[in-house]
């Protein structure tokens, strides 16, 4: 009973300083302060500033001139804008092929044979490499006259195809380069997803006689929904942000046929011949609005999960 006796005297008399009473309420704000400050300054505020800038004509050097909707009016009468928009749509649609392709590779690799870990990492490789390097690799791959791809086509059909010189093919060529790392990314997501597939359900389905594709469709895919969701999200974002490859591989060419919005925006605002900041901002705003559709969807789902989850 000695212990209990000590206890009363040993417990310090409650000190209710102001800080002590409020620390639970104040602590989160103190911890949030640096992150929020930087994020507001560098991310949130610039978004609004871009909106505002998009109503001006400004070359980045001189005075800003109020244009109202002028930039937008011009944009909607700009062939290059429509080319970029169309290419963005192409990117969006074709880039999504990364999702099934990633799934296919993931399924192919989801085995337990000797050395499979190494194979998985090597398959994942393209994602770790910078897009700049990927772009250079594919430029080399596509290079007219001696590129591996050119040679391959030449060997198959007799005449090589210079993908990056062909206005019809160039976007597809760049997207293919972009797919390479993106497939790797989706593959990893699916590999982890497959890892978490409930073995019980698979076994139950085996007892139920589901096999192969039917197993995949009816039992596995529904369980992979979270992985699929995130794969789609990152792929869509990747497609809309695509800039590096276009810049590296073609600089938007030939004659602007591989431009996408993000590249066109940069070209207009900061490149050698550009410096139309307001016009660039207007393009960025359009891009932002397109992305907003997806962001809202994502947030909506998160809010829902958050409600259910916690």
């Amino acid at each position: 009973m000695a212990i209990a006796d000590v206890s009363i005297s040993a417990t310090p008399a409650p000190q209710r300083s102001w800080w002590r009473r409020n620390q639970q309420r104040l602590t989160p704000w103190l911890f949030l302060l640096p992150g929020m400050a930087m994020f507001l300054v560098y991310v949130i505020w610039p978004i609004f500033e871009s909106f505002w800038l998009s109503f001006y004509d400004w070359d980045g050097l001189g005075e800003k001139v109020w244009l109202g909707w002028g930039n937008y009016a011009e944009l909607f009468d700009d062939d290059a804008f429509y080319t970029s928009l169309w290419n963005n749509v192409l990117w969006l649609v074709l880039y999504l092929l990364a999702v099934p392709a990633g799934l296919a590779i993931a399924i192919f690799l989801n085995q337990n044979v000797f050395g499979i870990r190494l194979y998985k990492s090597l398959f994942f490789f393209p994602f770790v490499i910078s897009q700049v390097v990927v772009g250079l690799m594919f430029s080399w791959f596509y290079a007219p006259n001696f590129g591996l791809f050119y040679k391959l086509i030449e060997w198959l059909t007799g005449t090589g195809v210079a993908v990056l010189a062909d206005p019809e093919l160039v976007t597809y060529g760049i997207i293919a380069a972009g797919l390479w790392p993106q497939i790797a990314y989706c593959m990893i997501l699916y590999l982890t997803g497959l890892n978490n597939v409930s073995p019980d359900q698979v076994e139950a389905a085996r007892l139920d006689g589901a096999r192969g594709l039917r197993m995949l469709w009816y039992v596995i895919l529904p369980q992979l929904r979270p992985a699929t969701f995130i794969a789609v999200v990152v792929t869509v974002i990747g497609a809309l942000r695509s800039f590096d490859l276009v810049s590296i591989m073609t600089d938007g060419g030939p004659f602007g046929s591989s431009r996408v919005l993000s590249f066109y925006m940069y070209e207009q605002a900061l490149s050698e011949y550009g410096y139309r900041m307001g016009y660039g901002a207007a393009i960025a705003v359009i891009l932002f609005l397109i992305m907003m559709i997806f962001i809202s969807g994502f947030i909506w789902k998160m809010v829902r999960d958050e409600r259910e989850g916690y």
Partner: protein, 389 residues
């Protein structure tokens, strides 16, 4: 006390070496000045300059003469260096370039080199196919037919960076419509849908439609196209004289590499040439203006220009400089000093940047899709109306 001069430039490796030598000389002459040269990739520099002029200005910066420097002059990014011109009597020694350095009656930089454009050709290929060096456009085109039959690209180019295509256009237009018209066009005074412009493209079409121009040029850099000429896969190349270094690096010699002026199209038009001038400027934000001016003056001297251009393989501006003993340089000097029609800078220096960009894209597209000519010209016209307003 040691002072530094920050100098941003965009030299390729060979000119870089030449310039480093010049800088060494300058430093030797001015032991208290330390020149820090920051070299950029040639293409990247064109983007970078916009950024560093406003943000992180050096004391000296390379750029180009003519309309190309206009935006920076107009927005006050380059300093007026008329005093240097006055003090060192550059109006006389650099007279030939003075007009292209002058805006609003003031001078905004110092030119140190220029070089001719024209057609470089592979002599062995000409021999192999058995054709003569053409004088007129018709001869040129008919040669092309023979080259094509031999599986050789008659005219090569690499338009990945767009500007090589502009060289072809400039010459076609100069030969078809003449210098005055060309300058009017690039300064936005003539509609792109003008019949005379169409005439120029019609001449061009004579090469494009039969496929005399290297296919896939849109994916090639100009150096790639140069290799084609070196390897004998192509016969002619419309290029500036700076390309000679590349041809020679690739193994060509004075015996195999030939140079000819662009052939005559319309004999009624006076021969005009294209010779871009490279310049050095003092940005408005420069911190060490005095020494920068010293450097400009130094760069303008006859000796320096002689030495520099000997290494560059190009032509000095200073009339007292001597021209190197090199057949191509001599040919260029000959060509330019006898030009009756006038000397253009280059499409992307004569036209404002935005127009240049759209125009060069149009040229590239024309060489890929000649059928789109009407669309292209309409687009250019629309751009012209917007840009020059």
């Amino acid at each position: 006390q040691q002072r530094t001069l920050k100098y941003y430039a965009d030299f390729d490796p060979a000119p870089l070496a030449a310039f480093e030598a010049v800088i060494a000389d300058f430093e030797a002459a001015n032991p208290d000045i330390d020149v820090v040269l920051q070299n950029f990739d040639h293409e990247g520099y064109k983007t970078a300059i916009r950024n560093f002029l406003t943000a992180d200005a050096p004391d000296l910066a390379n750029w180009y003469a003519g309309n190309r420097m206009a935006p920076f002059v107009n927005s006050g990014q380059f300093q007026d260096v008329s005093d240097v011109w006055e003090e060192h009597n550059l109006h006389e020694s650099l007279a030939s370039a003075a007009p292209s350095m002058t805006i609003d009656g003031k001078q905004w930089g110092v030119p140190y080199t220029y070089y001719q454009w024209g057609i470089y050709y592979n002599k062995s290929v000409y021999e192999q196919v058995g054709v003569d060096v053409p004088e007129t456009w018709d001869e040129f085109v008919s040669n092309c037919e023979k080259f094509k039959a031999a599986g050789i690209d008659c005219l090569t180019t690499g338009t990945k960076a767009l500007w090589p295509g502009a060289g072809i256009f400039d010459y076609l237009n100069l030969r078809t419509n003449g210098y005055e018209f060309h300058m009017a066009l690039t300064s936005g005074e003539v509609a792109w849908t003008d019949d005379r412009v169409k005439a120029t493209f019609a001449e061009w079409g004579k090469l494009v439609e039969p496929g005399y121009i290297t296919a896939n040029h849109a994916a090639l850099d100009w150096q790639d196209a140069a290799s084609l000429l070196i390897q004998g896969k192509a016969a002619n190349y419309v290029m500036g004289n700076f390309a000679v270094a590349v041809f020679k690096d690739g193994g060509m010699t004075d015996d195999t590499l030939g140079f000819m002026p662009f052939p005559t199209i319309n004999p009624d038009v006076a021969r005009a040439e294209e010779a871009p001038t490279d310049t050095v400027h003092i940005p408005a934000g420069a911190k060490n203006v005095d020494d920068a001016k010293k450097f400009l003056a130094f760069l303008a001297t006859a000796d320096v220009q002689t030495k520099l251009n000997e290494a560059l393989g190009q032509l000095p501006i200073n009339k007292d400089s001597s021209v190197a003993d090199d057949p191509f340089i001599k040919a260029g000097f000959e060509l330019l000093s006898t030009t009756p029609g006038g000397i253009a800078q280059f499409f992307d220096r004569d036209a404002p940047a935005e127009m240049a960009k759209i125009g060069m894209e149009g040229f590239q597209q024309f060489m890929v899709q000649p059928g789109q000519i009407d669309n292209i010209l309409e687009r250019l016209e629309k751009a012209r109306q917007r840009i020059y307003k």
